[in-house]
């Protein structure tokens, strides 16, 4: 009983009027901090943001990033240092796989006419080599296949869907005849040399709204700079053909002729009787211009007088 009487009574909760006052207001501190941080961030991010004198590669605009990517591929083509190339690509912060980023940039460049110059072609080739070696693929693979020496600037164009079946032109090369002079001896008459006046130098692509879907044909003398007028050019497609001549656009020079493609049709270009047809048909595929506009690809087919 006595133990029960001596048990301590629980302390009585103090009323707010009995508690000592804090030296500061919690509410005031919280509101002040939030307001202060808001003002500080507003000043730093909006009113006078810190000026950045220099930038990193990932902060470059799209064109500069493409140039930087091409430079990385060019360097890799010479030094074979994959680690260094990847390190540089990481600095560009491609979304996802950096090597696939190279493929995407190559695709964009190939469809916007970067292959129009020898330098651009070399860079594209380096980019294709870089991503192909790492097992990646891109639309540049199907748009452009570089033939032989990269320095020649000759491009073969592989079309994504070559659907036409064109009849091969009659060959001007006689079929080798075999003459049996004796029962035991065979004399072979050698094939005559081709009688072409002109050789195909190459086919390059470009993308522009002004020349959307145009095949430009240029025919030059052996020196490569003097245009040859009045050369008949033939464009053939699956159910028709069109013939036109160089030099009919006086303001474009005597070497120039052009032909407007219809979307979805493939064309073979030749100089009838004077140059063999190009190896692959040209297809009117869509492309994106450097300015971001949609257009149909432009082909430039170059012929030069045979030596």
């Amino acid at each position: 009983m006595s133990q029960r009487e001596s048990a301590p009574t629980p302390p009585k909760a103090r009323s707010r009027y009995d508690r000592p006052r804090r030296p500061f207001s919690i509410l005031g501190a919280i509101v002040g901090l939030i307001l202060g941080m808001g003002v500080g961030l507003l000043y730093a991010w909006v009113i006078t943001p810190a000026s950045q004198e220099t930038v990193e590669p990932w902060q470059l605009d799209a064109d500069s990033r493409a140039s930087y990517t091409a430079a990385i591929a060019l360097a890799y083509s010479e030094d074979d240092d994959l680690g260094r190339a990847v390190e540089r690509l990481i600095a560009l912060r491609f979304p996802g796989d950096p090597i696939q980023g190279v493929a995407d940039v190559a695709c964009q460049l190939a469809s916007t006419g970067a292959a129009g110059s020898t330098g651009g072609l070399t860079a594209l080739r380096a980019m294709i080599d870089l991503y192909r070696l790492q097992g990646r693929a891109g639309c540049a693979d199907s748009l452009i296949t570089l033939a032989g020496d990269p320095g020649t600037g000759i491009v073969e164009i592989d079309l994504p869907t070559p659907t036409v079946t064109l009849t091969a032109p009659p060959s001007k090369t006689p079929t080798p005849a075999t003459i049996i002079t004796t029962p035991t001896r065979i004399a072979v008459i050698p094939t005559l040399a081709p009688q072409n006046d002109f050789d195909l130098v190459g086919v390059t692509t470009a993308c522009s709204v002004e020349a959307s879907g145009v095949i430009i044909v240029e025919v030059y003398e052996l020196n490569g700079s003097t245009g040859v007028p009045a050369v008949e050019v033939r464009a053939r497609w699956n159910d028709g053909e069109s013939r036109f001549f160089t030099g009919l656009h006086p303001n474009r020079g005597s070497s120039y002729a052009d032909f407007q493609m219809e979307p979805g049709i493939d064309y073979l270009i030749d100089l009838p009787g004077r140059a063999d047809p190009i190896g692959q048909p040209l297809s009117a595929v869509p492309c994106t211009t450097p300015g971001g506009d949609r257009a149909v690809i432009t082909y430039r087919v170059l012929f030069r007088r045979s030596e």
Binding site: A44, A75, T122
Partner: protein, 123 residues
């Protein structure tokens, strides 16, 4: 009064924290910048890459065209200065040789570059 004093003190602290976060920790980052604003280190690296490209294709016109976006008044001068700076700061021999080859290709070979010239063996 107690509320206002707390508010004022916290406001000052908050502004300080906000400025620190906004200017130092998480500053505004710009994008869509042009090539000339690239940092000096990356401009040098870009020049080295173009120099390797020149070693591959031997086309000085293409190399100058690729360096044009950096918007230097005198691109050959920039190549020469970069090559000399790489030599004097003992950078990688491969990079130096590439730069010297490019400098020679654009007619900017100087005596300090001579030891790094890559002379092709005669046949």
């Amino acid at each position: 009064m107690r509320f206002l004093v707390s508010l004022a003190i916290a406001l000052a602290i908050g502004i300080g924290v906000g400025l620190y976060l906004g200017l130092v920790q998480f500053p505004v980052e710009y994008t869509d910048a042009a090539m000339p604003r690239l940092s000096a280190r990356h401009q040098d690296d870009y020049t080295v890459m173009i120099a390797y490209g020149f070693q591959a294709d031997g086309d000085p016109g293409a190399a100058l065209e690729r360096l044009r976006p950096l918007e230097f008044d005198n691109v050959p001068q920039h190549i020469q200065e970069t090559a000399e700076r790489y030599i004097s700061s003992s950078r990688g021999v491969g990079d130096v040789r590439a730069l010297v080859t490019l400098a020679e290709g654009v007619g900017r070979l100087t005596p300090i570059m001579e030891p790094y010239r890559q002379v092709e063996a005669g046949g």
